[in-house]
C-alpha cells in the first residue's frame, strides 16, 4: 500500500515536471504572446498542480498535506485569473493576436 502510494506520488510528480518542461519549451517556440500564454501559463500551471499533488500524496494525510492541497486550490483559482488579466491587458493596449498565414474562420 505504502509502495503503491509512493509510486503514484512519483508518477504524479514526474508527469508534472514533464508538463512544466513542455510549458517552458512552448514559451520558447510559440510565435506570439497569446499562444505563449496557452503553452506556458496553463500547461505550466497544470504541471505545477500535478507536482504539488504528487508532493501531497507523498506527505500523506497530515496537516502539511492539507496545506499543499490549499496551495493547489489557491493556484487553481489564481492562475486563470492572472492569465486572463494579462491577456486582457494585452488586448486593451492594442496587441494583435498572431495568425497563421492563410487561416481564419471555423474550419482548420
Amino acid at each position: 500500500m505504502n509502495i503503491l502510494l509512493e509510486t503514484a506520488a512519483i508518477i504524479l510528480f514526474g508527469s508534472g515536471v514533464l508538463f512544466m518542461l513542455v510549458g517552458s519549451l512552448g514559451l520558447l517556440r510559440l510565435p506570439d504572446f497569446f499562444t505563449r500564454t496557452h503553452a506556458s501559463g496553463k500547461v505550466d500551471s497544470v504541471g505545477m498542480m500535478l507536482c504539488l499533488g504528487g508532493l501531497a500524496l507523498h506527505e500523506g494525510p497530515t496537516l502539511s498535506g492539507l496545506k499543499l492541497v490549499l496551495v493547489i486550490a489557491f493556484v487553481a483559482v489564481s492562475s486563470p485569473v492572472a492569465a486572463h488579466a494579462l491577456a486582457r491587458a494585452a488586448v486593451r493596449s492594442g496587441l494583435k493576436p498572431w495568425r497563421a498565414p492563410g487561416q481564419g474562420g471555423p474550419d482548420r
Binding site: G23, F74, S78, A82
Partner: protein, 89 residues
C-alpha cells in the same frame, strides 16, 4: 522519493532558463511578464521541494503560499496598469 529531491529541484531550476530568456528578450512587455509569472510558478514548486529536502515542510509551505498570494496580487496590479495606460509598449 527522498533521494530525488535534489535532482528534481536542480532540474526545475534548469527549466527556469527558457522563461528567463523570455524575460530578457521578449518582444513585448507582456512576454516579459509572462516569463516572470512562469518563473514565479516554478519557484513555488521548488520551495515546496526544499521544504521536503530540509525537513521543514510546514515552514516552506507557508512561504510558498505567501509567495503565491503576492504573485497573484502583482499580476492584477500589472493588468490594472497596462489596461489603463493606452498604447504602452
Amino acid at each position: 522519493m527522498e533521494s530525488l529531491y535534489t535532482p528534481l529541484a536542480a532540474f526545475l531550476a534548469l527549466i527556469l532558463l527558457p522563461p528567463l530568456y523570455r524575460v530578457l528578450r521578449g518582444p513585448t512587455v507582456f512576454d516579459r511578464l509572462l516569463g516572470a509569472s512562469v518563473i514565479g510558478n516554478k519557484t513555488i514548486v521548488i520551495s515546496c521541494l526544499f521544504g521536503f529536502a530540509f525537513g521543514r515542510i510546514e515552514m516552506f509551505l507557508d512561504i510558498a503560499l505567501g509567495y503565491a498570494i503576492l504573485n497573484f496580487v502583482g499580476a492584477v496590479a500589472i493588468e490594472k496598469y497596462f489596461s489603463s495606460e493606452e498604447a504602452s509598449r
